[in-house]
Amino acid sequence: MDYTALKAAHTLLKEYAYDLGTIERGYTNRTLYINLDDNTVKEKPVSEMMKKKFIGGKGFGLRLLWDAVTPTTKWNDPENELIISPGPIAGITQYSGTGKSLVVTLSPMTDIVIDSNVGGYFGPYLKFSGFDAIEIQGKAKKDVIIAIDGVEGRVTIEEAPDEPLDSHVLAEALTNMYAADADDRRNVAVVSAGSAADYCGIGMLNFSLFDVQRQEIRMKQAGRGGTGRVLRDKKIKAIVCRSPQLKGDMNNVVDMDAIKERGKRFNREIREFDDVQCRMRKVGTAHLMEIMDEYDLLPTHNFKFGNHPDIGRIDSHVWEDRFTPRSSDGCWYGCTMACAKVAEDFTVTTGPYKGDNVLVDGPEYESAAGLGPNIGVFDPDIILELNFYCDTYGLDTISFGTLTAFAMECYGMGILNKERTGGLELTFGNGQAALELIHQMSRGEGFGLIAGQGVRKMKRYFAEKGWGDPQIMQDIGMENKGLEYSQYVSKESLAQQGGYAMTNKGPQHDEAWLIFMDMVNKQIPTFEDKAEALHYFPMFRTWFGLMGLCKLPWNDVEPENNAETDEPAKVPEHVDNYVTIYNAVTGSHIDKQEMIRQSERVYNFQRIFNIRMGAGLRANDAQPYRAAGPVTAEEYESRADRYDKQLKDVLGLDPAAMTIEEKMAATRTYREDQYEKLLDAVYERRGWTPGGVPTIEHLKKIGMDLPELIEVVKPLLEK
């Protein structure tokens, strides 16, 4: 590719020079604001109040977005913003998993705020270039690239007509274009989407990193909720950041020795225990494939079942053979967990890159499960190819998997047929049809364009066409708030049903993954126990998104003595590591209680943000029935012993004297009632009304009684 010619075609729309500034205690104390309507570029100060209440990362994103939009703003209005923020800890290299960014915007999938946690180098590089966040409003008239040069102190907006959209080629072109020389490529990070993000609500963002060992561009994904669709709606082709050379203490932390000590301790754990625990260094989160299958949690055929006899064809050992592990497999420097695995020299068999040998990042567990068993595919080559195309086209693998699974079940039920799909035979296991579907998404045509808007919009479309019963589509359509479920079967874990459907952004497992605690360990049998778990874990896990941290080093390896602690599920030593590191970076003096309180403030802010946008109430926390129980007779019969036992032992019924319809109805009534009781318990624990509204007393208690929040909740509390 002729990078010089591509660059020569650029038209400079705006150049903005800035002082490089300094980073103190993890903050640059300013954000970068860009408005593409008129090419405004300016710096905004970060107040002490903002740092205290919103901390950074997702918290900064939420605060900035709240101020930018009104209750009627839609995702594709110019007022909507795309915000990327690391956090105060992001960019240290002495502890694993410390290079994350949080992307925040109004989602085309949910019409409320989406936040997506992503690796790659952009977040830390943005901070090293002088900004705690980038906030982009407005829409360009033609495709632009926004470039931040943290070496020269310059921001440019450039019309960029000729670069290809697909991320694996675009990121390579821009890395070469904006690097001063070949060595400088490691200092360049690119945020881009892909051709399908021009058309599909499930469009995501790729965050690049230059892999020095492989001399290749790799990418990590801000997958959930359509952030890539927002980027392309603003006609942004890419955001590029060129950072000063990385050094040991870019954050100017208060106590580097404390951070190093915790880092060494953690690295020792990884060296000693990873091989006998999760094998993250060898296979990443794909180690979960056979585990989820064994525990009946692996979504199979649109979450109908939880395991499959062909799991051996796509289990972790298969992926281990495909991956080529290197110490550079982290998505940020210094991560010894290094779980971002890579399949090299994969030969593409379909689409515009047919015949190319490419590098595929992943698949991680969610991608392998969603692109595999959930759509009935047990061919690792198909999974790799779908993963490659999802990434380069800019599509969320999780949503793609879940929506394709839904379409396939609809096809099996006769809601869809060949005529309605334009010739696609969307049967479970038809990997070639799934590949054609993805290519249609990239071209914005055919059934791919319909499917690419997600399960919720498909349900509406099919119902409007009179193709199927809206109730059955509601029951099997695995979405909540408009976002597709991630890849775990929650039927037998009431707590996880809440962990999915009570989330602020929609059913992503990054708030709470409670299936083992609930379903297997039976540790949280009462509603109060479940409510406590659904308070602590979402608050604790929110904290990673405030800091610029990865969740995986928290509990994908555990210290030798973890079993001897009072609460091993919380991994107390690692919690203490995080408290220590935060204090060491910022000079604060928080403890583990204040850590939860920091999250609680932001969590409640986001809940009220949802209410402000017309969601965020009890009705919005409803789940599709398949998340809770068997929708079809086939599904009931497949686990009849389990369901019959519940009817007999819990409800005192005699399943032998009941028809299958009666048994399914009784099971449904019971399980739906259980979920309502869970909502009651969790709302009470969280300091919310039975309608799901945070009370003013609770907001005062946590120090988040901001006038703009009171203004939103007060009318609802007075009803």
């Binding site: 999760c278 989160t285 360990n521 091993p568 599920a569």
Partner: protein, 68 residues
């Protein structure tokens, strides 16, 4: 001779000489990050193969979280 034990609040058949490892095998608990307590006493991993489980024991096999 046989009796019962409780494993994660569920009744399970017990047999003489039963070990922690036997329980894991029978319950197909294949996950690697487990914390096991028998009658409240922590059983470390290196003892699972030969740690005898008495009749009537209350066994907790806590699966920790990972992934995602």
């Amino acid at each position: 001779m046989s009796g019962t034990i409780t494993v994660n609040r569920e009744t399970m058949e017990w047999r003489p000489g039963m070990t922690v490892a036997d329980i894991l095998e029978e319950r197909r608990y294949t996950f690697k990050m487990l914390v096991i307590r028998v009658n409240g006493t922590l059983i470390k991993k290196d003892r699972w193969p030969d740690a005898a489980v008495p009749e009537g024991a209350d066994v907790q096999v806590l699966h920790l979280m990972s992934g995602g």
